[in-house]
């Protein structure tokens, strides 16, 4: 690291002399000889070249596809070069938790800006410093909604299976029942929801767009939820948020989501980023860290971790959540990405993703045996039928260095982003066409 310069032998000798000892070992005289460190039985260390070769060998087992047409929760979006450059700054990479505000202003400010952007993205009034991933965010949002007399959770079947599974884990722990609201034509069934809603329900979680790519009638569903006195949680795709009605506009009390599309590479599953935002009245229920803006002793603007009495290290067993961490570097990444692309760029990424996905869908449906599974409008993902065993299709695509859509029980879930070129799409159609013949 640029700021770390080890002391020289001469400097160390001078320091030892200043404290009155001749060697570093002498500083440990109080530690009994039998428990002092002994060399461990480890093989000799490898050289930098040997380590590089070993790591490259492991990485080579991973097939990094030339073009990707799969989403299902993690998306291959364009990451402007400046994002990685900013995030790689050693001050950000090595910054630890900002509990001591005096020496953490830089990281605190970056988190404050992140929180501000999340509020802008969702339209809601308060946001936290992030949690581990979108699934955690959804489960924590459920915890925010539970109160006496309202201890049942409704979750749309259109929510990502991994998110549903995580919510179930959280609810199992506190014996809270989770009821799934079925889909109709690929979207949450409003009639079924109305039938299920009762006065013991804490909340409904809706994903927008949902797992199958379809755009939900969020505002209408939100109204049904509120009419029953429950809270409305929306799990939103942050890129789609640049184009669709905001969570606040749809009446969400809490907005959560997976922030990976905001400048984080796929990275074989992580680290990702869970964002959370809520209405002003629910601010005290937000879990995790929150950065606030205040003034210092000289009246200048500064930042600090605030509302800390919510957190586990103070409230202990009475805390509503045991989360006491955030994904600082990933939040920094999302902040750098959003700053780099701006609202216009985010909208453009969303428009291009939608356009490419619709072109892909149109061309796929020209092939015999492929048709859209659902009639609903979609964002950048959609499900098609498949005339051959899906694995056969995937194998053929893999040979062409293409990662095809995800085979699911409902059909193949395809995805396109702004990164997919027309040439890539046409090439995929060519390969699929040969297989489907």
């Amino acid at each position: 690291m640029g700021s770390y310069i080890p002391s020289t032998g001469e400097q160390r000798r001078q320091m030892l002399q200043a404290v009155g000892v001749n060697s570093i070992e002498e500083l440990y005289t109080d530690v009994p000889a039998e428990i002092r460190f002994h060399p461990l039985d480890l093989p000799q260390g490898k050289t930098e070249l040997e380590v590089s070769a070993a790591m490259r060998g492991i990485a080579a087992k991973n097939h990094v596809f030339g073009s990707i047409f799969r989403g299902a929760g993690a998306y291959d979006h364009y990451i402007p070069a400046i994002v990685r450059r900013i995030v790689a700054k050693e001050e950000f990479v090595t910054a630890y938790t900002p509990y001591q505000a005096e020496i953490s202003q830089g990281i605190l400010q970056s988190i404050f800006e992140y929180q501000t952007m999340i509020c802008e993205l969702t339209g809601l009034q308060a946001a936290n410093a992030s949690v581990y991933d979108g699934a955690t965010a959804a489960a924590e949002a459920v915890t925010m909604c539970r109160e006496r007399g309202r201890e049942r959770v409704l979750i749309s079947a259109g929510v990502h299976p991994a998110v549903r599974s995580t919510v179930q884990t959280y609810c199992d722990g506190v014996e809270v029942p989770v009821v799934e609201v079925p889909l109709q034509d690929g979207k949450t069934d409003a009639v079924a929801l109305q039938g299920l809603l009762g006065d013991t329900d804490a909340c409904l979680i809706l994903q927008q767009p949902n797992y199958y790519g379809n755009i939900e009638d969020a505002a209408a569903l939100g109204q049904l939820v509120h009419a029953a006195g429950a809270k409305f949680i929306m799990s939103v795709n942050p890129i789609a948020a640049g184009l669709l009605c905001s969570a606040a506009e749809c009446g969400a009390d809490i907005a959560v989501g997976e922030g990976q599309p905001l400048g984080m590479p796929l990275s074989f599953g992580g680290p990702y980023l869970g964002f959370m935002a809520c209405t002003a009245v629910l601010t005290r229920r937000l879990p995790g860290r929150i950065v606030g803006e205040t003034v210092d002793s000289r009246g200048g603007r500064c930042y600090v971790l605030t509302l800390q009495a919510r957190e586990q290290h103070i409230r202990r067993e009475k805390a509503s959540s045991n989360i006491c961490s955030n994904e600082a570097l990933c939040a920094m990444t999302a902040t750098a990405y959003l700053a780099a692309v701006g609202p216009g760029g985010l909208k453009q990424a969303a428009e291009l993703s939608a356009a490419k996905a619709h072109y892909l869908a149109q061309r796929l449906c020209e092939l015999p045996g492929f048709s859209l599974r659902y009639p609903s409008p979609f964002f950048h993902e959609f499900v098609t039928t498949c005339p051959v065993p899906p694995q056969q299709l995937m194998d053929a695509l893999e040979e062409a260095d293409i990662l095809g859509g995800l085979p699911t029980g409902e059909g193949i879930l395809w995805c396109a982003t702004e990164k997919n070129t027309k040439q890539q799409i046409d090439r995929l159609i060519e390969v699929v066409g040969k297989v489907a013949r």
Binding site: R148, R284, Q308, A309, I314, R315, K318
Partner: protein
């Protein structure tokens, strides 16, 4: 320190105002608010909740800490001072006016001190 004569006090620094034999109001003493510092939030029980003498029925939050409030009586919550939810500082400003809960159907009172004994108790606690 001010400890009104007409109130009774618990060793955990709550005051009790008997309205009749089975109804009382409860709040925090001046000593308590002074020790806690500026309060930023209050967590109160709901109307209808059962409270038990000696057991926590809520908590108050200052900037750096959260402290339990212990019920000096056993009974049922008849009313909650909702004003405190938006203005917890009232407990600091007017501890004896800022009642927290009103309890009815009281079946038991905890160990309570009069203002003189409580004042002595607080002084001993400060010297300790």
């Amino acid at each position: 320190m001010n400890f009104p004569k007409h109130l009774m006090y618990s060793k955990t620094h709550e005051w009790v105002e008997k309205i009749n034999e089975t109804t009382a109001r409860v709040g925090l003493t001046q000593y308590a608010q002074d020790e806690l510092g500026d309060l930023v939030f209050v967590n109160l029980p709901a109307v209808g909740d059962a409270v038990t003498e000696g057991h926590s029925f809520g908590d108050v939050e200052s900037v750096k800490a959260v402290s339990d409030i212990f019920s000096p009586v056993t009974g049922k919550v008849a009313a909650v001072n909702e004003e405190l939810l938006d203005a917890p500082q009232k407990i600091n400003e007017d501890p004896y006016g800022a009642w927290m809960v009103e309890v009815k159907d009281i079946t038991a009172f905890g160990e309570l001190l009069d203002d003189i004994c409580y004042a002595a108790y607080c002084e001993a606690a400060q010297d300790a």
